[in-house]
Every structure is written in structure tokens, then in C-alpha cells.
Amino acid sequence: MNTGESQLRTQPVVETRGLAKEFGRGDGLVRALDGVELEVAPGETLAVMGPSGCGKSTLLHLLGGLERPSDGEVSLGGRRIDQLSEKALARMRRHSVGFVFQAFHLMDELTALENVELPALLAGRSPHAARARATELLDRVGLTDRADHLPSALSGGQRQRVAIARALSNDPLVVLADEPTGNLDSAATLDVLRLLDSLRAAGQTLVIVTHEERVAATADRLITMRDGALVEETRLTRGSSGQLGDLVGLEG
């Protein structure tokens, strides 16, 4: 049994218990999630893979409070969010979660910098503090020289890097990314996975739903889902260069 102290130290950022989500009713009832037990440790990057319709996006929506479970519990930073009021849930999303979507979802009429500072302004930070934070984040994603560009003047990869900077605006407990490279070519995918890898190295807690192996390979841990349940789990951060020797044809 854990002592109180070690429980405190290892308390997961994200935790679910018996998480279930159903859509429709009667004959049309679909069980999108069926009893998911999940914990994401502070600073951990978790990749979620699985065929389309396996429930991985639904899981992400429930973790970020975009949808409510039919049954079970979701906790963020040790606090239950599945029974919060709409208002409290919206507030929790603004302050504690950063979302990154496949289609970027940037505001077309705002510049890159304005897009990144928007969440901080909505969370009630001063315009000065929001601007300073956004400038710092654009630098971190390597887009300082694009700060005054509208999204339409940016490439797909640049837009997604702006969206990732925006997701970090309020120092979220967790960044939830749904197919972050789904709309990108392979060069832009590499840029985004380098950025995700640097976030991991900086200790940001991340959950990434992806079908792209290279993106999943940046994670500390990988889970595969099928039919609304977790079916396979692997820790990815303990490979040895000995294994690589086999792979490139250096023989033992």
C-alpha cells in the first residue's frame, strides 16, 4: 500500500474510473467508451491509438470536459470534473486544459500573436501579461517572425504550432491533442513532433490521440483502444541502442 506521502507525489494529473459514454438509445445505442480506467502522471506524455470509431476522440473530449460521461468518474489535478456545473466546467476548461485539434481552429481575423493571447485574456489576465506570455510562447514554437501574420498567411505546420502555443497560454495542467498532424504533410508533421518532443522534455503533461506512428513515438507511454476499451499498453521510453543495432543490420 502507498503511504500518504508517495500518493501525494505520484497523484495523477488525469484520472478516470469506470468511464463510460453512450450515444443514442434503444436499438441505436452505441457504447463509445466502456469502463475505461486511466491515469496520466505529472509530466507524462500519453499517446492513444486505435482504429476510427474505437472511442479515442470521445475519451479525449471527456478528459477535457467537452462532453460528460454516461457513467464513471473523471478527475483533473485531483478534482472531479464529471459533475461540475456548466459554468464551473467552462471555467475549468479555460484555466486547466489546453486543446489542440486536427483543424487548428484558429480565429481567421486575428494575427498569430492575437490568437495565442486570447485564452489568457479570456481567463482574466491583464492585456500586458497576456501579450508578454503570447510573445514568449510564439518564440518557443519558433514563430516570432510570424507574430503579425493572419492564419491564412501561414502554412499548415505553422498554424498548428500557433495552435499549440495557444494551448499553452494558461499553463494548463494538461494539453489534449486530437490528431494534431492529421492535416499536415510529412515535413510539417516532423516540425510538430519535434515541438511535442520538446514539450515532453520540458515536463508538460500531454495526451495525444493520433494514428501517426511517428507522433505516437514521441510519447512516454502508448495505449491502444478497441471498441471503447483499452486493450494494449506499452512504455516507450526504455528502448536501448542495442535494439537499434538489430534494426540497421549490425549483427550480434
Binding site: 513532433l193 491502444t224 512504455r235 516507450l236 535494439q243 543495432g245 543490420g249
Partner: protein
């Protein structure tokens, strides 16, 4: 082959060493332009292999050069140094040069071996031992762990690294294998629905 260790980094396991099957041919080709010392050849191999060079036995280059000399593919000459022991400078013989040409013209290629896993799935399904889709999932995770190791090593290489190109080859081959595993999962998933 020794048993595959899990969760043990190479640093903790110095006994596991690799050698390059074609190291003879590589050394001969590297000598085709001009004579060189063993340590120069070793440095060139290390640059090409990056982090993977660590897994090569340090003395392997020198042992191989000795064998090549006995076989008449290279010859050597001792060169004196002011304050250090003499060094051997190796140069290619005509026989060695012919061997290099032969190697460059050879288009044989290491073959992937999907039959083994394919038959494992067929047998598992036929005997009702396990759900073949689960076997595919486990296999995909094993390949992804390898891809993760290769990708981390590639990301750690400096810009323009020639070793990063090798690691990119590992990543792309594993991606191709995983694409096939996806097709396996889709096939056996459909079969499950039919039975």
C-alpha cells in the same frame, strides 16, 4: 542471438556488441581513394553510424584490416612517428580494388520476413488460441517501441548528420511494417465478425 533484454539500456550491458556484416567491403571502399590509418577508417565508420557506433566492438576494424591483409586485399606500411609507436598505413591492392567494384555492383538487399508472423496469425485463428487482432496490437506496440528508440536517437543528432539518415531508414521501414500490421488487423477483425 542472446535473449532480447527488456528495460536495460546498452550502457548497463557492455557485453552486447555488434559487428557489421559488410565491414570488410566498407573498409576496402573507404581505402579506394587513398591509403589510411586504422583509426581514420574507424572514425569514418563512427561518423556514419552515430549513436549506433557505440554498439560496435572497438577492435573490430583492426582485426578486420589484419584479415584483409592476410587475404591480400590490402597491404600495409609502417610509418614512424616522433613521440609515439609506429602506425600502420593501409592501402588497397588490385585484388582489393576488384572486390570493391564487385560490392558496388551487387544489388542484393536484406529481405523482410512477414511469412512467420502471417502464419502465426493464421494458426492462432485456426486453433482458436487467441484473438489474432490482439496479437497484431501487441506486435504493433513492440515495433512502436523500436520506432520510438530510433526517432529519439534521430532527434538527438545535430542538423545535417549522416547518421540521422540511417536512423530515418529505420523509422521508415518500421512504418511500412506497421502499415501491413494495420491490414492484418482489419482482415482478422472482419473474420471475427463473420464467425
Amino acid at each position: 542471438m542472446t535473449q532480447e533484454p527488456v528495460a536495460v539500456s546498452n550502457r548497463e550491458e557492455p557485453s552486447r556488441r555488434y559487428q557489421l556484416r559488410v565491414v570488410q567491403e566498407v573498409l576496402l571502399a573507404l581505402l579506394a581513394k587513398e591509403p589510411a590509418h586504422g583509426y581514420q577508417l574507424r572514425a569514418q565508420l563512427q561518423l556514419a553510424l552515430g549513436p549506433l557506433a557505440e554498439t560496435m566492438n572497438a577492435g573490430h576494424v583492426y582485426v578486420t584490416l589484419g584479415r584483409l591483409e592476410k587475404a591480400g586485399l590490402v597491404s600495409s606500411e609502417r610509418v614512424g612517428q616522433a613521440d609515439r609507436p609506429d602506425r600502420k598505413v593501409y592501402q588497397l591492392t588490385d585484388v582489393g580494388r576488384a572486390r570493391v567494384t564487385e560490392w558496388l555492383d551487387d544489388t542484393s538487399w536484406p529481405k523482410p520476413a512477414p511469412a512467420e508472423f502471417h502464419l502465426k496469425l493464421v494458426a492462432t485463428a485456426a486453433a482458436g488460441l487467441r484473438d489474432p487482432v490482439r496479437l497484431v496490437d501487441a506486435q504493433r506496440h513492440a515495433l512502436l517501441a523500436e520506432l520510438a528508440a530510433a526517432q529519439r536517437a534521430a532527434l538527438a543528432e545535430p542538423d545535417g548528420s549522416v547518421a540521422a539518415l540511417l536512423l530515418e531508414g529505420v523509422v521508415l521501414r518500421l512504418q511500412a511494417d506497421m502499415r501491413w500490421l494495420e491490414a492484418c488487423a482489419a482482415f482478422w477483425n472482419t473474420r471475427k465478425g463473420e464467425s
